[in-house]
């Protein structure tokens, strides 16, 4: 659990503290570094300053929402290349389309078990983009 290279930094954006807590516990337990943000503005600030390896973005956020935050990240040269995994409790079809339009690289519907999230992070860092169809089941 202690890789030679600096551990992967994950920016976890979610307004629901318990969910953040689960993923932080599990990802840390799995050997990743995790930074947290609880709203859009915080997420942008941390992303620009920390330059994480991957951002896990809950779309329903108070104030600046996940879609808008992602759009700004993808329009900024500093954060353009950081993969964004969208995470949402909304299962309606419009959500995933909106997420990809905003520039998200992957889309996961809640509930999402922590190990599933870990799999997704590893996959996207390995350069594999999961098919949209697979991510909704």
């Amino acid at each position: 659990m202690t890789p030679a290279a600096p551990a992967t930094l994950v920016l976890l954006v979610d307004d629901y503290a318990d969910n953040r807590d689960i993923y932080v516990q599990f990802l840390t337990y799995s050997g990743l570094r995790v930074e947290e943000a609880e709203n859009g503005h915080q997420a942008l600030d941390k992303a620009f300053t920390l330059r994480p390896d991957v951002i896990v973005m809950d779309l329903s956020l108070p104030g600046l929402d996940g879609w808008e935050a992602t759009r700004r990240l993808k329009h900024d040269p500093r954060t353009r290349d950081i993969p964004v995994i969208a995470l949402t409790g909304h299962a309606l079809a419009g959500h995933s389309k909106g997420a990809f339009d905003a520039g998200c690289d992957a889309f996961i519907t809640k509930p999402c078990l922590p190990e599933r999230l870990l799999d997704e992070i590893r996959a996207i860092l390995a350069g594999r983009r999961p098919r949209p169809g697979e991510s909704t089941s």
């Binding site: 629901y16 318990d18 969910n19 689960i22 993923y23 516990q25 599990f26 337990y29 329903s60 949402t88 409790g89 909304h90 299962a91 309606l92 079809a93 419009g94 809640k110 509930p111 999402c112 078990l113 922590p114 190990e115 169809g133 089941s137």
Partner: protein, 721 residues
């Protein structure tokens, strides 16, 4: 005897006077050579002149032509006109020549003597010597008259009378025979031309039917020769047969049979001829029995008869036609329900049909005073209507309305009357035909029509009111529809929100549980682990319920988009089995697949199809305590669709429950303690999804005998192009 000498010297050259027997022989020789009585008589007188010196003489022969008569055959020294006077009828018995002939001996007829007639030679005395007949006792053959009355003359004349008589009689008879033969020939020719002149065929046939005599017409029909044409010969042969047959029939039937008709053929033009046969038997002592037949041509008669019969038949037919026509007309008139009357210019009714009779005549059995009064009233009305027409010069038609009364019931009959004049070729009105039409129904119809119009108007008002009401209701409905749509949208939104709100805490529950089970927070006792697993499975169950509700909501809101693509069915089945593998392993059931690898790709929403098959398979595993589960996929050759079926040997579904299981939130056996999906929404969702894909989900099952769920899908959805 100078006289004799003179005579001899004048006439005789070869014969010596007084040559005696030799001179007589010479004469006999000449007599035999003479061929006719005149020559014979002349030779006799010439010989007497030479031999005895007769100066004048006559030789008369008794002939039987036109009665017995003496006629001069030859004369000597007498003028012909004088000689002609010696022709004497032997019936005139007092004539000196007759007497001289009958005396049978030489007689002297004195010239100028007794009797004024005396002799044609006037004063000259004549010696009359009868000529001997052929047989003694017969009338003398003639009379020789000579002069002068010398003894030599008398002697020679008397010798001559004996030898000349028989010869002369013989020659006279011969000549007479010859003449009568010629007459017979003439008569025969005459007879022949007479019978030939008859236009009817006449025949004489012998006992065997052979033709003895036939006139020209008969020969034309019954005789032929080789020069004639084949057709004509045949016709003649046929005619002969027909004629013989007719004769035979007549012979059998006898002469009493009224008529014998013989059909023959004209040999010239081949036309049929008809003859009537009249035949008579003739008997002749020498010729035997024969039949005289006269054929009367009745061809034209027959034709005339036939024509007459035909004309008569036509006349009868015409008469029958006319009668039938009249009957038909009567029938037509009587069959018309409207009264029809024909009135003459005097106002008298000439003809009326049964309905008219009902109005204008009184039935004897119902002759009540009232009926009679009504009939009279009807009559008066009608008469006045018709009489107007007679006075109106120009118009040939008139229509009007008259009020009549039914004499039977007393009911009023408003009538439409239409009259037409029948005008003769001279322009006179000969009759008026009137048709009456009962207007009761028409008036009733008019009344009903008015009523209908009124009701229709009322109805229109009502309809207008109803329409206005409908418009108002529609508006209300439209508003409530909008409200409903808004409510529905709100509901979907609410459910979506709820779903999100549910998922967020559920995500936490599942997440923490999962981490605990994974040992992130350290090891647990087995009791803790077991309880935690219960939490996990219930959380999963809750999640599946939320997912199902969300699916239903999405389908109902039309927010379940279809993503169509071509994909192979075997791959899909493999994928489903792989996904459900943990359940299969846990179930300990024998799970098999039978998939036609050659199935063509299916064009559909892969994800939805997969969702349905997974649902069916998990159901099968869930409801099969032991035995097997089988997944099959094959093309249905009848419908052209692909059938994916999941069969099991499970608990089965009763017929009653087979409809229930497809309803929302219904399950034949709803058990929340089951570990797997199943809020009773699974099959309801599957069926909805199947129909979205233009497919069909059906079940075949019986309680305790397993179930087979079949998803039938088209190769491609209808509107996918």
């Amino acid at each position: 005897m100078p006289a004799v000498r003179t005579a001899a010297g004048r006439a005789g050259r070869r014969v010596q006077p007084g040559a005696g027997v030799a001179g007589r022989l010479e004469f006999l020789e000449a007599l035999l050579v003479a061929g006719d009585p005149v020559q014979c008589a002349q030779r006799a007188l010439s010989w007497l002149q030479r031999r005895a010196g007769v100066r004048r003489g006559l030789c008369l022969a008794a002939v039987a032509t036109d009665g017995p008569r003496l006629i001069p055959m030859a004369s000597l020294g007498v003028r012909d006109s004088a000689a002609a006077k010696f022709s004497v009828d032997l019936e005139a018995r007092d004539h000196p020549l007759t007497r001289a002939l009958l005396s049978a001996s030489p007689v002297l007829i004195a010239g100028n003597g007794s009797g004024a007639a005396a002799t044609p030679l006037g004063k000259t005395d004549l010696q009359a010597i009868p000529l001997a007949p052929i047989r003694a006792g017969d009338l003398p053959a003639g009379l020789l008259l000579v002069t002068p009355l010398t003894p030599a003359v008398v002697a020679e004349a008397r010798w001559l009378g004996r030898v000349l008589g028989p010869r002369l009689a013989e020659l006279v008879a011969a000549r007479r025979r010859e003449e009568s033969g010629q007459r017979l020939q003439r008569e025969r020719r005459l007879l022949s031309s007479i019978i030939n002149a008859v236009t009817d065929p006449i025949l004489l046939t012998d006992g065997e039917g052979r033709i003895i005599i036939a006139n020209a017409r008969a020969e034309a029909l019954l005789a032929t020769d080789d020069e004639q044409s084949e057709g004509r010969r045949r016709a003649v042969a046929l005619n002969n047969m027909l004629f013989s047959a007719a004769l035979t029939r007549r012979a059998i039937e006898g002469a009493e049979a009224p008529r014998h008709e013989v059909p023959l053929v004209d040999p010239v033009d081949g036309s049929d001829l008809l003859f009537e046969l009249l035949s008579t038997m003739t008997s002749d002592a020498r010729e035997g029995t024969g039949i005289v037949s006269i054929l009367r041509n009745v061809t034209d008669l027959q034709r005339a008869t036939a024509e007459l019969e035909e004309n008569y038949r036509k006349l009868r037919q015409t008469e029958a036609d006319a009668r039938a026509e009249r009957d038909r007309l009567d029938l037509v008139i009587d069959s018309v329900a409207d009264p029809i009357l024909v009135t003459d210019p005097g106002g008298n009714t000439v003809l009326m049909n049964a309905p008219a009779e009902h109005l204008f005549t009184v039935a004897p059995e119902a002759a009540s005073a009232e009926a009679q009064r009504l009939v009279q009233a009807n009559d008066a009305h009608f008469s006045s209507f018709v009489s107007n027409l007679f006075f109106e010069g120009d118009s040939r038609r008139r229509s009007g309305r008259i009020s009549l009364v039914d004499p039977g019931t007393g009911a009023a009959l408003p009538m439409e009357a239409i009259s037409g004049k029948i005008v003769s070729e001279h322009g006179e009105v000969t009759a008026v035909v009137t048709i009456l039409h009962d207007r009761t129904e028409e008036l009733e119809r008019a009344r009903l029509y008015e009523e209908l119009k009124k009701v229709s108007a009322e109805l229109e008002v009502k309809v207008r009111q109803a329409t206005a009401e409908l418009v108002r209701q529609n508006e209300l409905l439209r508003r409530s529809h909008i409200a409903l749509e808004q409510a529905s949208a709100l509901k979907s939104q609410f459910l979506a929100n709820m779903s999100h709100e549910f998922r967020t805490p559920l995500n936490a529950i599942l997440g923490y549980t999962s981490m605990l089970l994974k040992g992130v927070s350290g090891e647990m006792t087995s009791a803790q682990r077991r309880n935690l697993e219960r939490i996990d499975s219930n959380s999963q169950h809750l999640l599946s319920i939320i997912n199902d509700i969300l699916d239903i909501t999405r389908i109902e809101a039309g927010k379940m988009p279809l993503t169509l693509a071509d994909f192979p069915i075997p791959d899909l089945v493999d994928e489903v089995l792989a996904e459900v593998e943990p359940l299969i392993a846990r179930s300990q059931l024998e799970v098999a697949t039978r998939v036609d690898r050659a199935l063509p790709p299916l064009r559909s929403d892969r994800q939805k199809v997969k969702q349905i098959v997974i649902n069916l398979l998990t159901n099968a595993l869930k409801f099969t305590p032991e035995g097997w589960v089988r997944v099959t996929a094959a093309a249905d050759p009848n419908t052209g669709r692909v059938a994916i079926a999941v069969a099991d040997s499970g608990i089965g579904i009763s017929a009653k429950d087979q409809t229930v299981i497809f309803e929302d939130f219904r399950q034949a056996d709803d058990s929340p303690t089951r570990q797997y999906t199943g809020a009773g929404l699974g099959l309801a969702i599957c069926r909805r999804l199947a129909s979205m894909l233009d497919g069909e989900l059906s079940v075949r099952s019986a309680l305790g005998e397993g179930s087979t769920f079949t998803l039938a899908l088209p190769r491609a959805p209808k509107d996918s192009g």
